[in-house]
């Protein structure tokens, strides 16, 4: 499959500040890609460069093999949904959706019919005559989506579109957007700083940090095989243990506090190399007494945060902070201030070299 969207060495500088540093990425046709990162990481700047509202200092943007770097925003045929929806307040919902068709010379009768069809697809059949201010946040969101899709854009860009919605509506819209995106097969770039949103919606997640791409991979790869400590810390909860490889052949390492540790993976490492070991909190077993046949670490419990179905136990093993996620029913075995044992399987330990 050839790539549909191709970013090559995109650079953006503001005076001495480098907002984007050689960002390259290729996106397949129909793919749903999420740009994830903290604010100021460059994800929105990249989106604005694709849309044409920002000019890159260097590099090129290609869609379907054609460079669009020199095109004005209105010549790019890219649909965008903004965080505040940016619906035209003086037009009704259906007129909003008709607008891109009007700009493309589609007649009013046919265009309005097409716009109504699109509104039905996003679940707003019969709401066309309303003005944006007569619609709820979720409905406005759907109108904005319909408007960005009705002209069959080559690319759909979503700039934190769920940020303004409450939690329940947000989850509902996540499913909706995925359904609509799949049914139309439109290549989509979704910008968010919410990692659970990125996890649940994307075919691929691109993690941005300080103007660079840290990692671009499928959600589960990002979660289980992060390539950098930043990605490991940013996505999900993590225990990051600094360690030195003691025997690369036997896959053992050592941390000054915890002592010897086993790790998994196939990466070629050398003895004496400094690495970071990642253990996710849900992979750690908490027990009162040491478990036979495993390396056990003694941990002092500091705080227990109860969520009902599960609980987060925060403690300290020597000078090393530890987070352990346990099932709600198991939390009764331990109290704050007590000492316990934590242990994990070798397969749960992932090595990060960067």
């Amino acid at each position: 499959m050839t790539s549909h969207l191709q970013l090559s060495d995109i650079t953006k500088t503001y005076g001495h500040f480098t907002a984007l540093d050689n960002v390259s990425l290729s996106v397949d046709k129909g793919e749903f890609v999420t740009f994830l990162g903290p604010s100021g990481s460059g994800k929105t700047t990249t989106l604005m460069i694709i849309a044409g509202f920002e000019k890159a200092s260097g590099g090129s943007v290609k869609v379907g093999g054609q460079s669009i770097s020199q095109l004005a925003p209105h010549e790019r045929n890219i649909g965008i949904v903004f965080q505040n929806y940016a619906l035209f307040p003086h037009k009704t919902a259906v007129e909003n959706v008709y607008f891109p068709l009007q700009m493309r010379g589609v007649g009013r009768a046919q265009g309005l019919r097409q716009a109504e069809d699109m509104l039905s697809l996003v679940g707003l059949k019969g709401f066309g005559h309303r003005h944006p201010k007569e619609l709820s946040g979720g409905q406005q969101q759907r109108v904005a989506l319909a408007r960005a899709l009705v002209f069959e854009p080559s690319l759909l860009l979503l700039d934190e579109p769920l940020g303004a919605l409450d939690k329940n509506l947000r989850e509902q819209m996540q499913i909706e957007i995925k359904r609509i995106q799949r049914s139309l097969g439109v290549t989509t770039i979704f910008v968010t700083h919410d990692q659970s949103e990125a996890m649940s919606m994307s075919d691929r997640i691109v993690v941005f940090e300080k103007g660079r791409i840290e990692q671009a991979a499928a959600p589960l790869d990002i979660y289980h095989r992060p390539q950098t400590s930043f990605v490991a810390a940013f996505i999900g909860e993590s225990n990051l243990i600094p360690a030195t490889i003691t025997n690369a052949a036997a896959r053992t390492a050592e941390n000054p506090t915890l002592g010897g540790l086993d790790y998994s993976g196939t990466e070629v490492l050398s003895n004496g190399q400094k690495v970071t070991l990642l253990v996710r909190p849900e992979h750690i077993k908490l027990s009162r007494n040491p478990i036979e046949g495993r390396r056990n670490v003694r941990m002092t419990v500091e705080t227990i945060v109860n969520y009902g179905d599960n609980a987060l136990v925060i403690g300290r093993a020597g000078d090393l902070p530890m987070r352990v996620r346990v099932l709600g029913a198991d939390v009764v075995i331990i109290k704050e201030g007590e000492e316990c044992c934590v242990s994990w399987m070798r397969d749960s330990v992932f090595v990060i070299t960067r």
Binding site: A72, R76, F88, F99, F127, Q139
Partner: protein, 267 residues
């Protein structure tokens, strides 16, 4: 306290309304000069106003000058507001201050300035001279109203329009202009009223050829206190009243119209 506040409110309203209470009956008076209470009532001064060229010509002059002033003001203010609100450039601070300067300078000072300056240019006693002077006074008012509107304008609306295929010109016509329409209407209204109302500069430079209504009224009240002044005041008052009330009535009528029933199901 409550009673006290209510009485205060009542007295304030009385003070504001008192001139109207006096002017309206006086316009129907049959006295030969302004007098309250009127000795008797007739419509003679209304007939006098609508038939006397000494009154109709200044009225026409005022309408003409105010309309031209409004057009000229908006032609200058719309581009200036966009430039000053949306762009950063060298000397922007000075340009901002210059725009608002006519508000700070007393009208009498401006009037004296125009009198000698326009005299040299041969613009005294001409419509064009008055239009230029009035435009100068209207620009800061129109600018203040419009810039407040433009500052609150969400630029993502323009970005959205562009992403949907509208070039800069179409974006301006289909999106920016309609959304700014209330602001444009109000700022042109203020420009018009400013010119229609303006007396000091008009007295200095309008002369007999371009005599405006306020100037004519001022001359009249000084010389003969012609009750036609009360007629004009009453007419202007009711025109303004209708102008203010019309939008309320329009919206009241609209909200009485039956709304289509609410479809269920969708979010």
């Amino acid at each position: 306290m409550n009673t006290f506040m209510r009485w205060t409110g009542f007295i304030v309203v009385l003070f504001i309304a008192a001139p109207l209470v006096i002017v309206v009956p006086m316009s129907f008076s049959n006295a030969s000069s302004l007098q309250f209470p009127p000795p008797g009532y007739w419509l003679g001064y209304y007939r006098a106003y609508f038939t006397d060229m000494d009154w109709l010509v200044p009225t026409w002059n005022s309408i003409l000058i105010a309309t031209a002033t409004t057009v000229l003001t908006m032609l200058l203010v719309v581009p200036a507001t966009f430039a000053l609100v949306r762009h950063k450039f060298r000397g922007k601070g000075i340009a901002d201050v210059m725009m608002l300067m006519p508000l700070a300078v007393p009208h009498i000072v401006m009037a004296v300035g125009y009198y000698s300056y326009f005299g040299d240019l041969g613009l005294v006693h001409s419509h064009f001279g008055v239009i230029l002077a009035h435009t100068c006074l209207s620009v800061p008012i129109a600018f203040l109203v419009l810039s407040a509107n433009l500052k609150g304008f969400d630029r993502n609306l323009e970005r959205a329009a562009q992403s949907l295929g509208a070039g800069p010109a179409k974006t301006f016509i289909h999106i920016t202009l309609p959304i700014l329409r209330p602001g444009l209407i109000i700022s042109s209204l203020f420009a018009f009223i400013q010119s229609f109302d303006e007396t000091v500069v008009a007295i200095f430079i309008s002369g007999r050829d371009a005599e405006t209504l306020p100037r004519k009224m001022f001359d009249s009240i000084r010389q003969e206190a012609d009750p036609v002044i009360a007629v004009i005041s009453t007419l202007l008052f009711f025109i303004v009243l209708i102008g203010i009330a019309a939008p309320y009535f329009a919206s009241a009528l609209r909200s009485r119209a039956p709304k289509p029933s609410r479809p269920a199901g969708a979010h």
